[in-house]
């Protein structure tokens, strides 16, 4: 049976290059990077090289890169670390309504501890406006955290402009760049952000590896207290193979960013055009301007049918995509992101995200379009909501 993976926003396969580079660090070079002996020094050298590479990829200094166990840890650290560091200065945080749960639920948790959070709205394509941010900033605002690119609909925020507004008012700015890193060429100094989160497995690196960029000169409270790792900012034995794999994968992604964007973006555009031409009564969610949308992302709401059954039908045909719908997560709430851009609740239930990758082909696109057409017809014939247009 066919097997077509269209869920690259969930995770990507580890690249061969990264895998090969990581292997020695599971066996021969197994030392603890904090040990003083030769085993430790060899491991420490690998970590230091990896840090250097990652820093170069995003325009940072090596001393500004802190390894974490995942993107979620980096996000938690940025928000909770600043909340703790600046608690005497203020207790107000600004974020957006469409953040990943790593930021959103972290903010919700802080609300239980006396912090106030403003969740900025987004427009119909998922954009946060610079004006709404400016209006929300208060004297006690300590942090603005707005994601670089959305995981569900791919909308790319005007991070540089948003960051300028925050800085104009003396407020720190963090961005969750988990989906953006490796897909968008950026330079942290040009963006101006104070902190930025990334996750290796989104750009063909290993799972269980993330990083937080923290601008030099900034002070942030620890999230993980422990030993003296990461220059005494993050306790926990360094994941040496993970750091090595992350660096190789990120360098590869950044070196080939335009080429991959053209190829994968071409597949996505072809897919979107074919789906819109062949299936009626659907919404294409997110930014229409492809230059302001992740090149791998397509998100549709299919009226009158439910997401999980679409997803499951596709799965039976060998196509792996993702649903923003309630049923798949076990809750009855449809995607917060889709509701925030104005998709009606019922329609939001029938939403599917397709995220393309480097290994997909134009045959994958055609096969998926055919199966999708078939699935939608079948499920609509079954739906009590659908009345076929005469």
């Amino acid at each position: 049976m066919k097997s077509i993976y269209l869920d690259h926003a969930a995770t990507t396969p580890l690249s061969e290059k990264a895998f090969e580079a990581m292997k020695p660090y599971f066996s021969d070079i197994f030392g603890n990077a904090n040990s003083q002996h030769v085993y430790g020094r060899d491991a420490a050298k690998a970590v230091s090289d990896a840090r250097q590479t990652i820093a170069e990829c995003i325009g940072a200094k090596p001393s500004e890169i802190y390894f974490t166990s995942c993107g979620t840890e980096a996000d938690n650290w940025a928000v909770k670390g600043i909340a703790a560091q600046l608690k005497d200065k203020g207790r107000h945080i600004i974020t957006s309504v469409i953040e990943h749960p790593a930021i959103y639920t972290t903010c919700k948790q802080l609300e239980k501890y006396g912090y106030e959070v403003t969740y900025l709205p987004v427009d119909g394509e998922g954009f946060v406006s610079v004006e709404s941010l400016e209006d929300a900033i208060r004297p006690d605002t300590i942090l603005v955290s707005i994601m670089f690119a959305n995981n569900e609909i791919g909308t790319i925020q005007p991070i540089k402009e948003l960051c300028e507004v925050a800085h104009k008012h003396g407020v720190l700015f963090h961005t969750d760049a988990v989906q953006a890193t490796g897909a968008i060429r950026y330079d942290v100094k040009d963006l101006g952000v104070d902190m930025l989160s990334m996750s290796a497995h989104k750009f063909y690196g290993p799972k269980g590896m993330g990083a937080l960029y923290v601008r030099n000169g900034m002070r942030i409270e620890k999230l993980l207290t422990g030993g003296e790792q990461e220059r005494a900012h993050r306790g926990g034995t360094t994941n040496v193979s993970g750091a090595v794999g992350m660096a190789v994968a990120l360098k590869d992604a950044v070196d080939n960013i335009e080429k991959d964007a053209a190829y994968v973006g071409g597949l996505r555009d072809d897919f979107v055009n074919k789906v819109l031409a062949r299936i009626d009564e659907i919404y294409y969610n997110g930014a229409k301007d492809t230059s302001r949308r992740l090149y791998n992302n397509a998100n549709f709401s299919f009226r009158y049918i439910e997401g999980e059954s679409i997803l499951f039908s596709l799965d039976l045909a060998g196509i792996s995509a993702s649903s923003g719908s309630a049923c798949s997560s076990g809750s009855l709430e449809p995607s917060r992101t889709l509701l925030s851009i104005g998709v009606p609740v019922g329609t939001a239930h029938g939403s599917i995200r397709f995220t393309f990758g480097k290994r997909n082909t134009s045959e994958d696109v055609d096969y998926t379009v055919d199966e999708l057409v078939r699935t939608v017809e079948k499920l609509r014939a079954m739906s009590p909501l659908y009345k076929k247009q005469a």
Binding site: E306, F312, V345, G346, A381, L385
Partner: protein, 124 residues
């Protein structure tokens, strides 16, 4: 997540559509919750369900339970059909994931509403 039986029923649902000249219809659930089931039946003068068909907006579990429950009441009297529980439907499907059990209640409810409709029509 789903067992083979559920997958097979979802892949090839039976009794799908709307019965011609039905004299009982029941629709339950709502779009906001992500689950709607409609069942139509033709019930004869002896209160036997001659035919029944469903239409469902919902997840794979909702579709599978709709199909199975509809099949289970065809040929039965309305009194027997009213005794059908979601538990029996789940057993027939050889189980559902715990978070999907609520989907199976939909069919039980739709059958009850349809038979109420039939009785109202019959008794004028």
């Amino acid at each position: 997540m789903y067992n083979e039986k559920v997958m097979e029923v979802f892949r090839n649902p039976q009794h799908m559509g709307e019965v011609e000249n039905y004299n009982a219809i029941g629709t339950v659930g709502n779009e906001t919750c992500g689950d709607i089931m409609q069942i139509t039946m033709r019930i004869n003068e002896d209160d036997i369900i001659e035919d029944a068909k469903f239409k469902t907006f919902g997840c794979a579990a909702a579709v599978a339970t709709s199909s199975t429950a509809t099949g289970m009441i065809i040929g039965k009297s309305v009194d027997e059909a009213l005794k059908l529980t979601n538990k029996e439907v789940v057993t027939e499907l050889e189980g559902l994931p715990p978070q999907k059990i609520h989907c199976s209640v939909l069919a039980e409810d739709a059958i009850r509403v349809a038979i109420d409709d039939y009785r109202k029509r019959k008794n004028g």
